[in-house]
């Protein structure tokens, strides 16, 4: 982004100051939305009309074009939240709070979608909607963590105080996720020795990889747009809250 080249101090206020952040990032929403729509159109065209059925899985391979991007986002969004959490804790960065809060429901939705499409993919290929294998189980646990974080946000009245607490919990979760993944994998291989399904990236033919990549980008852009809009709304919501508080004080005085 062009912001990177701006001098240090200026660059910092431009992302740290809520008003300025909204001012410059607002102009990004429209181009990003257009890019998202174009990517989706292209990706869907490839997914349905310009890619062959897989020789083993047949047409069900087309579910992969929505499954893999949502699964990728389920982890990417947590990464965004964890980085924002560091911003909140280390620099007390006001936009980091806002970013964390706006990302949580998106992450939960994408994780739920990854599970949903995974189940619909699993039924024709493995013969069951749900299999307690390592990958699906750790995605489920991730969803539970997302829901916990959302519940924690909603439990606080004072959102400024909530941010630091949620940030701490988000980082505790980030440290725990690898442990959970490892333990769930260990547990799953214990109970069913052979892995049912492996996604061997590089061996996939380019005819499948092209739509996959386009869809991954489309979903990532979609997340960015929704995240930005959510952040703008959150900034305004805080302004509303402080105005209401001031008004109430005036009324009480």
């Amino acid at each position: 982004m062009s912001i990177e080249s701006a001098p240090g101090e200026n660059w910092w206020t431009r992302i740290a100051h809520p008003g300025q952040f909204v001012a410059w990032s607002r102009r990004l929403v429209l181009p990003l939305s257009i890019a998202t729509v174009l990517l989706f159109a292209l990706g869907l065209w490839f997914a349905f009309f310009n890619s062959p059925p897989d020789y083993q899985m047949g047409d069900t391979v087309r579910i992969m074009y929505v499954h893999v991007p949502t699964a990728w986002l389920s982890q990417f969004v947590y990464g965004v939240m964890a980085v924002s959490a560091i911003g909140t804790l280390v620099w007390r960065h006001p936009m980091a709070d806002v970013s964390m809060k706006a990302a949580a429901p998106l992450g939960a939705t994408f994780t739920a979608l990854a599970l949903y499409t995974g189940a619909l993919w699993g039924r024709p290929t493995w013969g069951t909607f749900w299999e307690w294998d390592g990958r699906m189980t750790s995605t489920l646990v991730l969803l539970l963590i997302y829901l916990g974080i959302i519940a924690l946000w909603r439990a606080f009245d004072d959102q400024l105080r909530a941010a630091r607490i949620v940030a701490i919990f988000t980082l505790v979760g980030a440290v725990n996720i690898p442990i959970i993944k490892f333990s769930v994998d260990w547990w799953a291989t214990l109970h069913q020795p052979a892995s049912v399904f492996r996604l061997d990236g590089p061996t996939m033919p380019p005819s499948i990889l092209t739509p996959l990549f386009i869809m991954v980008f489309a979903f990532t852009f979609l997340f960015l747009v929704l995240h930005l809009i959510g952040m703008h709304t959150e900034v305004r919501r805080r302004r509303v809250a402080s105005l209401e508080r001031r008004l109430a004080q005036k009324g009480a005085a």
Binding site: I145, L152, R164, F169, V172, G173, V175, W187, L190
Partner: protein, 221 residues
């Protein structure tokens, strides 16, 4: 070291004096074990096979149940604020409280395990392994619980949220805890599981006081 021990002693004394909370927890732990046979039937073989899981579920639920008391009372009467002013860093205060909480909530459960072992038709070897795995694993449960309790200490209805937050994070403890007792069919890997459980317990016990202290410090501002 002296203030550290003083906090442990204070918490233990307070809990013992204020009545049988810890006894109620033991009762709950045993009751979960008693209720399960009603749910799945009195088949001794089946019960013996499921017993590691049942014991751990009972311990898991009991530790979640007692969570809220870890910091709430001290937060409400201002003790936590005073402790912040003490020379001892907050993370050590949390560690002391975690140790006290473990002595009060986990140790009685482990002492009550023989009761469950008899009722769930465990054999001697399984019983010993269960005690060992509970001894190694419960510190991790309590330490994780401390994070949940610290994060929700200022929320009035935090008692409900803390278990929801902590439950997914505690899944590895449950997996390796049960794994350390029996690993089901196939080659026996309970030794590996016990070592992994010990590793997790150490990591969690080392890191979670830091996180919990951070949460308490930033919510008491």
């Amino acid at each position: 070291m002296k203030p550290f021990a003083a906090i442990i002693a204070r918490d233990v004394r307070l809990a013992l004096r204020s009545g049988g909370d810890w006894l109620t927890l033991v009762l709950f732990f045993v009751m979960v074990g008693i209720v399960v046979p009603f749910a799945i039937g009195p088949d001794r073989e089946l019960l013996a096979r499921l017993s590691p899981g049942i014991v751990w579920i009972a311990a898991f639920l009991s530790s979640l149940l007692g969570l809220d008391r870890l910091f709430r009372a001290d937060h409400e009467d201002g003790t936590l604020l005073l402790l912040r002013a003490a020379d001892l860093p907050m993370s050590l205060v949390v560690l002391a409280k975690v140790i006290a909480h473990w002595l009060l909530t986990a140790l009685p459960l482990i002492a009550a395990t023989p009761l469950l072992a008899v009722m769930l038709a465990m054999d001697m070897a399984t019983f010993l392994k269960a005690v060992l795995s509970l001894l190694v694993g419960t510190p991790a449960l309590v330490a994780l619980g401390a994070v949940g309790a610290a994060v929700t200490v200022t929320i009035r209805r935090g008692g409900l949220i803390a278990p929801v937050l902590i439950l997914p994070l505690a899944i590895p403890v449950l997996i390796f805890g049960v794994g350390a007792i029996s690993t089901g069919p196939g080659p026996d890997q309970s030794g590996t599981a016990l070592l992994l459980l010990a590793a997790i317990s150490l990591i969690v016990a080392a890191l979670s006081p830091l996180a919990a202290a951070l949460a308490i410090n930033s919510s008491e501002d």
